[in-house]
Structure formats: C-alpha cells, structure tokens
C-alpha cells in the first residue's frame, strides 16, 4: 500500500465510512442542538475543525514527549487531554477576540460549547493514544496520519451537520404527526440519513 493511498484511506474512512456522527454516534448533543439553521451549523463546523486539529497536535506532543517518557500515560491521559482541550478552547477564544474580531463574532459563541463536545476528545484520544481501535482495526498512527484522521473526522462532522440542518429547515414547514413533532422526527430523519451512510460501510477498509 503506497503512502499516499494510505492517507487517502484514512481520510475517507474518518470522513464517510466511520462518520463520527451518524455511524459512531459521537457528539450528538451539539448535533441536535445546533443543527436548527444552516448558518449556525457552518459556524459550528468551522470552529470544530479548528479546535480539533489543534487539540490533536497538542495532545500528540503531550503524549509522546511528556506522558509516555514518564510512564504515566495509562492513568493520566483522561485528565491531561480534557484539560488540554478545555484550556485550548479558552486560549483560542482569547486570541481570536484580539486578532480577528470578525472571525470571533462568527465562531465565538460556539467555542464554549466545544469543550464538552465529545468529538474533540474522542478524535484526540483515538488519534494519539495507542490501544484504541482506529477505523475498526488495531493500528497506531504516526503524526501526519493522526492529523489526517482528525481533519477527516472534523470535516465529516461538518458535512453531516450542514446536511442535517438543511433537512431540519425543511421539516419546519412540513405536516408532521403530533406526537412526532420536535425531537422525535429529528431522530427519525437522522436514522434515514445514517441509513444512507450505511451504504458506504463496505466501501473500503484500512
């Protein structure tokens, strides 16, 4: 398997085949919370891409140069990673406010939500820590692979959340049985959408 092909597989695998929202059910809370309008979903998707890439980079450095050499990774990785993400989000918020006010206005309100977005922690843990299944196979990523994987996951999140927001905007004007109004119909739609993604499940494997 050539180098470039492997990167491609990791990217497509993270993006579509093991899509973080519809196939793996990670980060459903922001999914159902934010996806009410297309505009907010795009904002959320951009902020997630940004924070997730940075989180994986910093967690990678922390795991390989601090936790692993000291031999404490196995039992300190959860607090370390979550604190890295939480402080990173705060840091990004402060920097953005100072450096680029328009970008801050676009992303600002989503940033605090990202701390508790499980997708960031999930992507960082899986990409960095050995011992978790990656794309359903035991495999350890090198740093560029981890980065490609994270970007794939983040774009997959953005893609689905924007598609779903479009569907939900249509739903508002549709006649829906009374008991299904609101959340239940959103879940049924998500089921149909994930049925579509099921078609990709045997597309390719690592």
């Amino acid at each position: 398997m050539s180098e470039a092909y492997r990167y491609f597989l990791i990217f497509i695998g993270a993006l579509i085949v093991y899509n973080i929202l519809l196939v793996r059910f990670i980060a459903l809370c922001p999914f159902f919370g934010v996806s009410t309008s297309v505009e907010t979903s795009i904002g959320m998707a951009m902020s997630v891409l940004f924070v997730m890439t940075m989180a994986t980079t910093v967690c990678w450095v922390a795991w390989n140069y601090i936790l692993e050499p000291l031999g404490v990774g196995e039992f300190l990785y959860i607090p370390t990673f979550i604190l890295i993400i939480a402080s990173l989000v705060q840091f990004v918020e402060v920097v953005l406010k100072k450096v680029s006010p328009p970008l801050y206005r676009a992303m600002g309100i989503y940033l605090p939500l990202i701390t508790t977005n499980c997708a960031v922690l999930a992507a960082a843990t899986e990409a960095v820590k050995p011992g978790f299944l990656k794309l359903n196979v035991p495999y350890n990523f090198t740093f560029p692979e981890a980065l490609v994987y994270t970007i794939g996951v983040a774009i997959g999140f953005g893609l689905v959340i924007v598609i779903f927001a479009c569907i939900r905007e249509r739903l508002e004007t549709s006649p829906i049985p009374h008991a299904f109004r609101g959340a239940p119909i959103a879940f049924i739609c998500a089921a149909l959408l994930s049925l579509a993604f099921m078609g990709f499940s045997t597309l390719l494997g690592l």
């Binding site: 793996r24 939480a86 402080s87 299904f180 049924i188 998500a190």
Partner: protein
C-alpha cells in the same frame, strides 16, 4: 427547598427529568452502546458511579470553589472518577472494555455529569446531591436497558448476557437494521414519540 424529600430527588431522575428522554443530554453514549443489553448494564453502572461520586465531591467542596474556575475544577473531579472506572474495568472486564472502547474516557465529556455538577451539585446539600446522582443514573440505565432489549432481541433474535442466552425467539429472521447504527436513531425516535403521545393523552 425544605419541602423536598430525598425520595423526590431520586424519583425525578426516572421520568420527569430523565437525562435522555427529557433533558436530551448524554445521548451519544446511550445510542452507541445500546446494541447489547450487557453493554447497557456496564455503561449504566459506570455513568451512575461517576455521576454519584462527582456529585458528592462537588457538593461537599461547593463553598470553596471560586466561581471563575469552577468548570476546570468540575472537570478534574469528574476525570479522576472516570480514570478509576477506566482502569478497574480494564482490569476486571477486559472483554467489555474492548467493546465499549473510547466510550469510557468519553464519560468525562458526557454532558449529563457536567450539567448536574453545574446546575445541581454546586448548589445543593450532599444528601440531595447523592440522591440526584443516583436517580439520574438509574434513569439513564433504564433507558439504556429498554433500548438494549429492543435492539438486541429484535435485531439478533436473542438476548445474551455473560455468554448465557436469556431469551430466544427461535427461528426468526432478524431485521439487521436494528442492530446497525440507524436502528439506534429509529428506536430512540419512536421511544420519544411514545412518551410524547402518553403525555398528550394524560393532559386530555
């Protein structure tokens, strides 16, 4: 606040403020692990344990935590308990740990726990916080079990717990969709709709 009893604090988590059906928090883990009843039992226990313990600790130090840094403090408390669960589950139930995978560390960011720490434990007495944690934990486990039973029974035709077959439907051609990922959304959507319907009937 004095009129509330401990039992009421416990009971509200079951239906009225059920974390999954009513508050709609912590959905991610619930949908993902509900493919099997056995997973539901372990995940429910893990979440209940972390929720109750972190509620107790946060409630007992609530007067010492400065308001500005409360979120990092909550996260560190929660993360320590999740580490306990992570390591003990890996030691005693390696097979289950393998299957639950990344969901155990993800309990840290499970919105149920942080939400309860923020909105309940940091404002209430320890005894109330314990009952609140237990109640919501049981409510969470209950929904997980209901979904697990539906999906495993109809998706595979039998329920297997600890390698023992409890119920079997005999020769039955199971619809695979229930055990695959769309099934989780479908089951949960219909559960919500049923609850809505029930409540609308009650109002009339």
């Amino acid at each position: 606040m004095s009129e509330r009893t401990l039992w009421q604090e416990f009971k509200k988590g079951l239906i009225e403020q059920n974390p999954l059906l009513k508050l709609m928090v912590g959905l991610c883990s619930a949908l993902a692990v509900s493919t099997r009843v056995e997973n539901g039992i372990f995940m429910g226990l893990a979440v209940t344990f972390v929720l109750t313990c972190s509620n107790v600790i946060i409630s007992s130090i609530r007067k010492q935590i400065p308001r500005e840094i409360r979120i990092p403090v909550f996260i560190v408390v929660i993360a320590s308990f999740v580490t306990i669960v992570d390591l003990s589950m890996r030691a005693y139930f390696p097979a289950v740990y393998e299957r639950l995978g990344v969901w155990i560390p993800l309990i840290v960011v499970n919105c149920i726990i942080l939400a309860r720490a923020e909105s309940f434990a940091s404002k209430n007495r320890v005894s109330f916080a314990v009952m609140d944690g237990l109640g919501l934990g049981v409510g969470y486990t209950m929904v997980l079990l209901i979904m697990g039973v539906i999906r495993e029974l109809f998706g595979t035709g039998k329920i297997v717990i600890f390698d023992k077959t409890l119920i079997s439907l005999g020769s039955y051609n199971p619809p695979l969709i229930l055990i695959m990922f769309p099934g989780a959304f479908l089951t949960f959507g219909f559960l919500l709709a049923l609850l809505n319907r029930h409540e609308m009937r009650k109002k009339k």
